[in-house]
């Protein structure tokens, strides 16, 4: 009996009413729907008795009269059980699961903000992901929501202007100023690191309370980067979505597109040719290399070691050229399509790629030596941002952040996708539990990635590049996972038999990791803040993805020429009493 069936039996023995309710989609994907009144009983059993102790994410869906909630839980061996329930839209109340999983707070806030669920018992904190002045009763991921409804809901001000804090069930999630007030009354200084700050590469905000140089509290506010990609995916076809999800992130673009494409392929039942899988894996590993080299440089910069930044980014450049050579692009590779890949690697390219990899490997060995010997570097990194193994498991950190605390977990090995099942590599872990450990893990992963890339290039199977995918994907759902450079990336896709997906949900690794940052900063110094934040390799454009697409032309053509866009902006301002053209002539 397979392990999935064992779990099925255990659940059926405990709950008679769940006979044949559990669906085994494949060995590591289980689906179970439970009515709301029995939900927490089942949930508790699955989490505490069956040891599904990892929360991947929570997906909210619109089911017509109900809201659907899917809790994606996984075992240590990475078998994912997606536990579904429904709450009626008139009274969409559900209990928070933050007592089991503190990291669930962010996922629950998403459901509250985007779908209007009333989650009871989320701990206080700043609003996420919508801006503070978002009008009430506007839930953008509900199917009946249209961007025009924002205009009807009254004035939508600029952020900061005319801020209406939501009252009612959502008010618990928005306490923007209490943090500052509480700490100032204690005679502490609260400094704003962000949304704009030289330490940060993207807008996010850390309010840091200081007593002298010591940090006494941190409040993280994210969500400045929302572009409405989840909603946008629902309004576009699968083919367009591949390119849209690729633009979630500028570093791990391939991670998101692969993750999405895998989910769609699973629903459509497509058998992707081997050569395509190998090419996907190759791009994935090259992406990991360039991402880790980029991280190493950023980490150096954050601790004032600019020489390391200059060196690693110089080396990274040669890899970017390789990526451009293979795919035609430095960042948004556009190599994935549903059913395979778009471009082949010809045999003349292989020696060139191998040459670059050899050079990078040599350089990486040098960086490993630097990390082992350079005193100021070690002093700045060790003992900083400590996150014990227990804390990683409790707070749900993923990727190199988790592996640096001795948590041996890697989707590539545990839930193999693409070509990873046929390649040999070891999962790098470390027991330092601090920023130094995270550096060691990333450097080790670089070495593994070189070896993986070599294996792929030397044993690239022959065959076609893609299979034909239907335009309409049959109804179904799938959860796809991918080990991005920053950690586990999760995509949930549901199709309804049309050309457009019903729901696309993205959980980027940073959202899982950023919630551990406050823990890492406990009792540290202000000087440690930049490197601790950088050490999770945050990518906030990944994390903040979904909300409003204000459809500028009210649902007509989405293509705007430069001239049209310009005229639109002039019109927009004139309606509000500002006329740039008028001012210029007067």
């Amino acid at each position: 009996m397979s392990e999935a069936e064992k779990i099925k039996n255990q659940i059926e023995q405990k709950f008679v009413f769940l006979k044949d309710a559990l669906r085994i989609q494949r060995e590591k994907r289980l689906w179970l729907e439970v009515a709301k009144d029995k939900f927490f009983e089942v949930f508790d059993f699955i989490v505490t008795q069956l040891d599904f102790s990892i929360l991947n994410t929570i997906t909210g869906t619109d089911e017509g009269a109900d809201l659907g909630l899917i809790y994606h839980l996984s075992l240590k061996n990475q078998m994912v059980l997606s536990l579904k329930t429904r709450v009626p839209k008139e009274k969409p109340a559900i209990k928070s699961i933050t007592s089991y999983f503190p990291a669930a707070a962010a996922y629950e806030r998403e459901i509250v903000d985007l779908l209007g669920a009333e989650v009871e018992g989320i701990p206080g904190g700043p609003r996420y992901p919508l801006p503070d002045d978002w009008p009430q009763q506007q839930y953008p991921l509900r199917k009946d929501w249209k961007p025009e409804m924002l205009e009807q809901a009254g004035k939508v001000g600029m952020i900061g202007e005319n801020v209406q804090y939501p009252i009612g069930p959502t008010h618990i999630i928005s306490q923007p100023s209490s943090f500052t007030l509480v700490h100032q009354t204690k005679g502490e200084m609260v400094i704003p690191v962000g949304p704009q700050h030289p330490a940060l590469k993207e807008p996010e905000s850390f309010s840091v309370a200081l007593r002298g140089e010591k940090i006494t509290g941190v409040q993280v506010r994210i969500g400045y980067n929302h572009r409405g990609i989840e909603k946008g995916c629902e309004q576009r076809s699968y083919i367009q979505d591949v390119y849209l999800v690729e633009r979630i992130c500028g570093i791990c673009s391939h991670s998101h597109s692969t993750c999405f494409v895998q989910a769609v392929e699973e629903i459509a039942g497509l058998q992707v040719p081997k050569r395509a899988l190998y090419i996907r894996t190759l791009i994935a590993e090259l992406e990991r290399i360039h991402s880790h080299l980029l991280w190493l440089g950023v980490a150096g910069h954050e601790i004032g070691f600019d020489t390391l930044l200059m060196y690693t980014w110089r080396d990274r450049e040669s890899l970017m050229d390789v990526l451009a050579m293979i795919t035609g692009n430095r960042v948004n590779y556009g190599i994935n399509m549903i059913g395979g890949v778009r471009r082949d690697i010809d045999s003349a390219q292989i020696p060139e790629i191998l040459k670059v990899i050899d050079k990078l490997e040599e350089q990486t060995k040098y960086y490993i030596q630097v990390a082992q010997e350079e005193t100021t570097l070690i002093q700045r990194l060790s003992g900083v941002g400590v996150l014990s193994k227990a804390n990683v498991l409790h707070l749900g950190a993923v990727g190199p952040t988790a592996r640096a605390s001795g948590v041996d977990r890697d989707v590539r090995r545990d839930d193999p996708y693409a070509a990873y099942g046929e390649l040999s590599f070891k999962v790098v872990t470390d027991d330092h539990c601090d920023v130094y450990g995270r550096t060691v893990v990333r450097l080790g992963e670089l070495m593994e990635s070189y070896s993986l890339a070599r294996q792929i290039l030397n044993h690239l199977p022959e065959g076609p590049l893609s299979v034909r995918a239907p335009r309409r994907i049959p109804a179904g759902e799938a959860l796809s996972r991918y080990e991005a450079p920053r950690g586990e990336d999760v995509h949930y896709v549901r199709s309804n038999g049309t050309e457009n997906p019903e729901r696309v949900k993205v959980r980027a690794p940073t959202l899982a990791n950023v919630q551990a940052v406050s823990k890492m900063l406990e009792d540290r110094y202000l000087a440690d803040l930049p490197i601790v934040v950088a050490a999770i390799d945050p990518c906030f454009s990944c994390t903040d993805r979904s909300i409003q697409v204000i459809d500028l032309e009210q649902g007509k053509s989405n293509l705007m020429t430069w001239e049209k866009l310009r005229n639109y902006s002039i019109e927009w301002y004139r309606k509000r009493g500002v006329d740039f053209r008028g001012k210029r002539t007067v």
Partner: protein, 313 residues
């Protein structure tokens, strides 16, 4: 009167010092860039930056104390230039000297740090305030080793005048080699004084934006940057005069070239040091200065006292 004005404004005052220090900044930046495998700036970049800043708008924060905010950069500039007059450059005699000018020079060189503190503190911005406090904290850590290490050669020469020290070391040409430990200590302390990596804690960009200088812009920022450049040249000149005082009796041209080689050697060492280190934390910096640097400086004093007792009798 005319000659005093000439001294003050042209040589070796503002203009001469300005040219040398812009040159020194170029040298530092170019060397730093080449060590990092970058191209680096063209030779006129520091001057272009200076002129550009002079032309920029000068923004003063509403809550800042306007008088101190405006005066701080000027004081920094004035103090460093004044200190320069008492340092023997390529002759054994400085422009001005009296017994005790060593102490005056050291005190004048503490002025810029004080103005960083005052300017930052009275900017009233959060980042400036933290930067200001860090400046002054760091100040207490590196200043003591610097003073002690510079007093050691003075002890050997039995004088508090820089010019007389130069005369002494010219008379005993190889004695400067006895002070090499002190030289190392002074170099480290000078890194702290100039707030450069690994001691750029008060202006750590990724933590507190630009520290004390966060609110400064335009003309005032240009003055501050100029003051730091000049401080670098004056600091290097002081170290050259105290620790490597050889070849002071050459003809003026050769002497000038030798002087330039000496200060650019010192500035080069500082550049290399800032290439190879990461920034320390303020607590680590203070521990480092008090536990290691200060005792080594005392060791130099001890050595010189013993030498003085035995050798120079």
């Amino acid at each position: 009167m005319a000659s005093a004005l000439f001294n003050l404004l042209v040589f070796p005052g503002l203009i001469f010092l300005g040219v040398i220090s812009l040159w020194a900044e170029y040298f530092d930046r170019k060397l730093y860039a080449r060590l990092q495998n970058r191209v680096g700036p063209p030779w006129f970049q520091p001057l272009a930056d200076f002129i550009k800043l002079l032309g920029k708008e000068n923004v003063v924060p509403e809550e800042a104390d306007i008088r101190i905010f405006n005066l701080s950069p000027v004081f920094a500039l004035a103090a460093t230039i004044t200190a320069f007059f008492y340092i023997p450059l390529w002759g054994a005699r400085a422009l001005f000297s009296f017994n005790g000018d060593l102490i005056v020079v050291l005190y004048l060189l503490t002025m810029p740090t004080l103005t960083f503190f005052l300017g930052g503190w009275y900017s009233r911005s959060l980042f400036s305030t933290i930067g200001a406090v860090r400046s002054i904290t760091q100040f207490f850590a590196y200043e003591v080793p610097l003073f002690i290490s510079i007093l050691a050669p003075a002890l050997l020469a039995s004088t508090w005048s820089l010019s007389e020290m130069a005369v002494f070391y010219s008379a005993h040409p190889w004695y400067w080699m006895l002070n090499l430990i002190g030289f190392g200590v002074a170099l480290i302390a000078l890194l702290g004084k100039l707030e450069r990596v690994p001691f750029d804690i008060p202006e750590a960009e990724t933590e507190i934006v630009a520290g004390s200088f966060t609110e400064y812009s335009g003309r005032l920022l240009a003055y501050f940057r100029m003051a730091i450049d000049i401080e670098m040249v004056v600091g290097a000149s002081l170290l050259a005069a105290v620790f490597i005082p050889f070849g002071l009796n050459l003809n003026p041209f050769l002497g000038f070239v030798l002087y330039l080689i000496k200060i650019f050697f010192i500035i080069g060492v500082l550049s290399v040091l800032r290439t190879v280190f990461a920034r320390l934390r303020i607590d680590q910096m203070i521990v480092f200065c008090w536990q290691y640097v200060a005792p080594i400086a005392f060791l130099q004093v001890l050595i010189n006292l013993i030498l003085k007792g035995f050798l120079l009798r």
